[in-house]
Amino acid sequence: MKKKGTRLLALLLAAMMVLTACGGGGEPKQPDTTDTPPATTDGETPSTTPETPTTPVTDNKGEPIKDFVTYQTATAEMETLFTLYSESAGDLDYLTNCIAGLLEIDNRGKFLPAIAKEWETPDEGKTWTFHLRDDVVWVDVNGNEMAKCTSKDWLTSLEYVLNWHKNSGRNSSMPRMMIAGAEEYFKTVEAMDEAEALELNCDSDLFKNTVGIEAPDDYTLVYHCVSNMLYFDSLAVSAALMPLNQGQLDAVGVGSEMNSIENTDLWYNGPYIMTEYIQNNSKTFTRNESYYDKDCTLFDTVTVLMVDDVLMGQQLFMNGEVDIAPLSESNLRTIYGDPNNEWYEHLVEGRPSKYSYQAHFNFHKKLDDGSEDDNWNNAIANTAFRQSIYYGMDLTNYWARTNFIHPEKCENVAYTMKGLLYFSDGTDYVEHVWEKIGLPDGRGRYDATKAQQLVEQAKQELEGKVTFPVQLDHWIAASNQNSLDQAVVLKEIIEAIGGPEYITLNIRTYATSLKKEVTDFRLHCWSFGNGWGADYADPENFLFQELYDDAGALYSMNTSFINEATDPQLIEDYKTYTAMVREAAGIYDKDERYEKFAEAEAFMLDKAFVVPVLYQVNWRLTKVNAYTQKYAMFGMQNNMWKNWETSTEPYTTEQYTQLEAAFNAGN
């Protein structure tokens, strides 16, 4: 009896399993996996190529990649597909491939003609004239031509950006700062009735008469600046100055209709068309056949996958599913530690990211109960105390968190980012700063003996005013293991300056990545590792952020709270610095201007208002030659997949060293 039952149920089970299988397989699936293949067409397993160092670029056995696959992590997912509305790199890194602007940048951060084939400023930056190509067209997602791209598209886009009721002020700050009449137009429109404001366009009298932009003909564009804007061309590669066709607006609508636009409704004039977008999963870009630049190298398709973390990306690279993968520390260690590892020879070092990382002190710290933290405030107002930190931090272990093979490459001793500004003789602005602070190589700020003297000096000067050890509250995101790891290292570094009886670092945590829940309450002692990315190519973009008594100085207002400090000597120093910066900003001869700025920067560093801490230099596995990628410290174009040199075979360390040498030699 029992046996029978078992058999029956076994049958039942078997039947159910068959059903399940059907259930699983019967789902409507896309049958064709070959239609748009996941891009890795290289069948051969990566062979360890015997290196014969000849011409550095061509000794890689691979072919150029046709279908490029890369990835991003979920936290950076796009929020909008509308370039003029977006202010975040998460969007613009992809949109830059869809929309072409007036200018482009090259792999050294210098300007190249793009839609503007020529441009000039006859009067030291007051007017800028751009002469446009006449063969640029807008296409829809299927590649059908929708309109010609003319100078009018820039008028339309500027009007849109400056119209509060259309674009909520997004991307408007730089045009308002630079273009004549823009601020006035912005304020006027903001005060207007919504319906009335939406009626405005670039042909409206108000716009024509107020804003300093004109289009003498379809292919000439003239901007008038508020003053000598030597660096107006940086704006031409930013989102604010990307073109917008009136036809696109007519088809979709303004405001929220544009902000929520789908890839299928977008018009493209850039190198790629976004043919598929599945949020939180993948994006596919296909080459735009109507793109004006017929001679450049483009991929046939680019696919961007979304992964949960970097580790997954590495796995995908090793499986040949993506073509570039930054390495996490653990993976780098594994590969680096084992010369027999399949990937040992393929470890390559990238170029520094575009941020210059700093530690900003807080001069007006409060305790958790809202009362003043006098101990810290008195200590940090003392120059010797700050300098003891400035000279006493041996950051090698901290840099090793980013790059343990060559930690010294991460050393940053200047405030402004290197590679952003060049004197007319070709020397980097930052090199001048290095010279002025006595570190001509840009290396070796750590000085134990000097730090010891400063520690003693600080202890003496602060006698009776400050109780040692000084408590340094270091805040990190509770969820972020990486910042925790860094904090642990930093604690050791800080407590090594004068022993734990001098400064103690307390690691404290906040809930999310938004630091404001700490800084609003002034609970931080310092803000460590702020990366400032340039908005435009001028030192003032960096140095203005530290001014005393200036509402536009972001770090002064939000991080160091210097305006609320009370120590007379500290305020005096800050005022001196502010005066130096303002003097430099009034000079319009480029070299003289930069020299003055460099002096101000050196003064600030010597007084240790801030401590430069890091350049980001990462290791990766890659099939892309990073030295052919666009590399600018500002603008939105660094991720444009144009003229990239790639190879179906991963590059080797040696090849990359050659590439780097060749690149540097060309300087």
Partner: protein
């Protein structure tokens, strides 16, 4: 016939003491519970394992060569494989993993025990009121629905964001605040069932206060359910804590927990499986123990299974 009767029956002497004797079976509730429980060999074994583990976590910290509070990073030792010096190897920062695992285990067990206890007390109190006091039925049902109808993760995320991260006490309170539901519902259903039994009716007629009715007449029926819930809530809490840590909503770093170790290990386990295996085994031992214990003890404590 008569002879057979003689074999089966005999006369006894009259004894006044024996005449007073009653049919007392020597039954003790708790002894029966213990007896039944001890019959479950696997559960008893796991209990020993768990107690051993807790005791060992203290011993381990004592005999370990490194102290959690004074761990230093050492990049040379990063991902050091387990050996005689570093018994569980080193993590990505070159810190001894042995003391981290045991220290974390203590945190996690402490959290789970506190949350389990809290849920228990709150759940029983609310459950009793819910089931016994009629006019409270509607409001508590509403409250139950409000909490139960939305994924708990919404509330947890919001609270984590509002409170700037879940410190140990906040985490405890939050988990208790949202964890009493199941216990309360089970208790309520049982109270509901026994409330109007005749003996309770009689008890009330005799003027017994409600609290006494609840504690003396009804509570013993609840023990089995309570123990089961308590035992299940411990693995539940540990699981939830790992999930929260994975989402970045877990405990702060000053309180290292198994959840945090597991989350970190996830990034490295392909290359360094031991980073995942050690904490995972500890977690699995704890959770499986409580699962088995709970089931065994709840069977054992159900008076209907006695005799």
């Amino acid at each position: 016939m008569a002879s057979k009767q003689d074999e089966l029956f005999r006369f006894v002497e009259y004894s006044p003491e024996n005449a007073e004797r009653i049919g007392y079976s020597n039954y003790s509730y708790w002894r029966s519970v213990m007896q039944n429980f001890l019959k479950r060999k696997s559960a008893v074994f796991m209990l020993f394992v768990f107690v051993g583990l807790v005791i060992f976590s203290f011993i381990a910290l004592a005999i370990g060569k490194y102290d959690w509070a004074t761990l230093v990073t050492n990049t040379d030792l990063a991902f050091h494989k387990p050996d005689g010096e570093y018994w569980f190897g080193c993590d990505n920062l070159g810190r001894d993993y042995w003391c981290q695992v045991w220290y974390s285990m203590q945190t996690s067990v402490k959290l789970a025990a506190l949350v389990g206890g809290g849920e228990c007390v709150l759940g029983i109190v609310i459950g009793c009121l819910w089931g016994y006091v009629r006019w409270l039925d509607r409001p508590i049902t509403e409250l139950y629905n409000i909490i139960n109808n939305v994924p708990m993760i919404i509330y947890l995320t919001l609270i984590a964001l509002i409170f700037r991260g879940l410190s140990f006490p906040v985490m405890c309170i939050t988990l208790i605040a949202f964890g009493w539901l199941v216990m309360a519902r089970n208790v309520r259903n049982l109270v509901f069932m026994y409330r109007d039994r005749e003996y309770n009716l009689a008890s009330r007629c005799l003027g017994t206060p409600i609290s006494r009715v609840l504690v003396k007449n009804i509570f013993p029926y609840l023990i089995s359910v309570i123990v089961l819930r308590l035992a299940l809530s411990i693995p539940g809490t540990i699981s939830l804590e790992t999930t929260l840590s994975y989402l970045g909503l877990g405990l702060g770093i000053e309180t290292p927990s198994l959840g945090i170790l597991l989350r970190n290990a996830r990034n490295y386990f392909v290359d360094y499986p031991y980073l995942l295996v050690f904490p995972a085994v500890v977690v699995a031992l704890i959770t499986i123990t409580f699962y088995l214990l709970g089931n065994a003890f709840s069977d054992a404590s159900d008076p209907r299974n006695h005799v």
